[in-house]
């Protein structure tokens, strides 16, 4: 039996898999769903996952993204954040829309660029996934060659670094060496939840400044 895609409705917090989806169909689906949607897609060699996040997921994603931006600003690292842009590579038959992602080392390469094509452009330097239990996502990031993946799950931050094409959990982000982010980020996420976003960000910036000052002394 045939069903039109637009009749499928994935409730918030839920996901569905579509099997035997060709690259061409994946492209058509991306086009049909458009940019303004709550659903997040991940495509892995013929299997398309459609996931609709819960509002609390979006909240955490925003605050962690803001903390990373504050960190980059305080460290005076130029960056470009591309949010949930669809990253895809037809040659690898992979595509993903992260919760948030950043070009840092490769910022200059993509600066001013409206479209990213992973067959030519480098992948983002850092991707962020919040409460995504899907097992396929890390393997897609792996194949797309995203060097650093942050996974925030149940209040814990896990930093994964691509070493010889595989993610290895590490205690320190290579993008931010010397900073105990695994402990610090979750505590400011919690603080934002209780005391408000602005206050948490302000305190976080101060903490980063203290760390830099301490290091340069």
């Amino acid at each position: 039996m045939l069903l039109e895609l637009r009749r499928l409705q994935v409730p918030p917090g839920q996901r569905v898999l579509l099997q035997d989806v060709s690259w061409q169909e994946f492209e058509t689906i991306l086009e049909e769903l458009g940019e303004h949607r709550g659903a997040r897609l991940a495509y892995d060699q013929g299997t398309l996952e459609i996931m609709v996040p819960l509002p609390e997921h979006e909240l955490r994603k925003e605050i962690i993204g803001d903390l990373v931006k504050a960190l980059l600003e305080e460290l005076d690292l130029e960056f470009c954040s591309l949010g949930s842009t669809t990253f895809k590579n037809q040659l690898m038959v992979q595509g993903i829309e992260p919760d948030q992602c950043f070009y840092i080392q490769h910022e200059a390469v993509v600066r001013g660029q409206d479209r990213i094509n992973l067959e030519i452009d480098p992948p983002p330097d850092l991707a962020l996934e919040v409460d995504v239990t899907s097992r396929t996502h890390p393997s897609i990031y792996q194949r797309l060659g995203v060097p650093e993946l942050w996974r925030f799950e149940k209040g814990k931050l896990q930093i994964n670094v691509l070493i010889q094409d595989r993610y290895v959990e590490v205690c320190e982000s290579p993008n931010f060496p010397g900073l105990p982010l695994i402990e610090v980020i979750p505590s400011y996420v919690e603080q934002a939840r209780i005391e408000g976003r602005n206050k948490a960000l302000r305190l976080f910036r101060r903490w980063v400044q203290d760390q830099i000052g301490y290091k340069t002394k």
Binding site: M1, E4, R7, Q9, V16, L17
Partner: protein, 216 residues
């Protein structure tokens, strides 16, 4: 416009998917295509078809709840027929449901030896069991099929819903044995089964039921 084959869609355990603007004929075609041997449960109401794939722990809770109900009926010397997750549907109401479990109790005699149920002639089950999220689609299907009582268990909390003027309302008592504090008893031994195991909880529950009967 992108179209998909129904068999391309996979709902993973613990997940829920809605299909919109589904006609009665399509619902029938989907039922047929999916067949009997599947892990998913369907509900259909107001043109929306919901597909749910339960988690193993969901199935476990369902079985224990069913066992407690059967123990209760057994101790009270009452009869029942269980129809599990049979698809109940009525074309005139444009509704269908596959409960987690269901029972004919007051109407058990009508169901003995019956292989097929036609809800335009037969009564709906007297009691249905629903574990986890009882969505709008499910509740509305139950309403349309006029199932008088639902036991809902979600987030380790049990509630009894009774159909009153076409809507479900939470109730402290069950229609099966209105004179026993069934909600309290079942909830207590459900919790006990999580700690002490299923069999001791069932035995404890049977004792509790006997005390309730003789204590009166």
């Amino acid at each position: 416009m992108v179209t998909l084959q129904l068999n391309q869609i996979r709902v993973l355990p613990g997940q829920r998917l809605l299909l919109e603007n589904v006609s009665w004929r399509e619902f029938q075609a989907i039922l047929q295509e999916l067949g009997e041997h599947r892990a998913t449960r369907l509900s259909y109401s107001r043109g929306i078809l919901e597909i749910v794939a339960p988690l193993p722990e969901h199935e476990k809770a369902k079985v224990i709840l069913g066992d407690l109900l059967k123990a209760l009926l057994d101790e009270l010397d009452m009869n029942w027929e269980s129809l599990g997750s049979t698809t109940f549907q009525r074309e005139d109401m444009k509704a269908g449901i596959e409960p987690d479990d269901c029972f004919y109790i007051q109407h058990h005699a009508l169901m003995i030896g019956k292989d097929r149920i036609d809800l335009t002639v037969d009564p709906p089950p007297d009691l249905a069991i629903e574990v986890d999220v009882t969505s709008k689609t499910k509740l509305s299907a139950y309403e349309l099929l006029q199932v008088p009582e639902i036991w809902r268990y979600q987030n380790r909390k049990l509630q009894i819903n009774l159909l009153q003027n076409g809507k479900y309302v939470e109730s402290p008592i069950s229609l099966i044995v209105p004179n026993l504090p069934v909600l309290e008893g079942i909830a207590q031994f459900l919790e006990m089964s999580r700690v002490a195991g299923t069999a001791p909880a069932l035995r404890g529950f049977r004792r509790w039921v006997r005390e309730q009967i003789h204590g009166r």
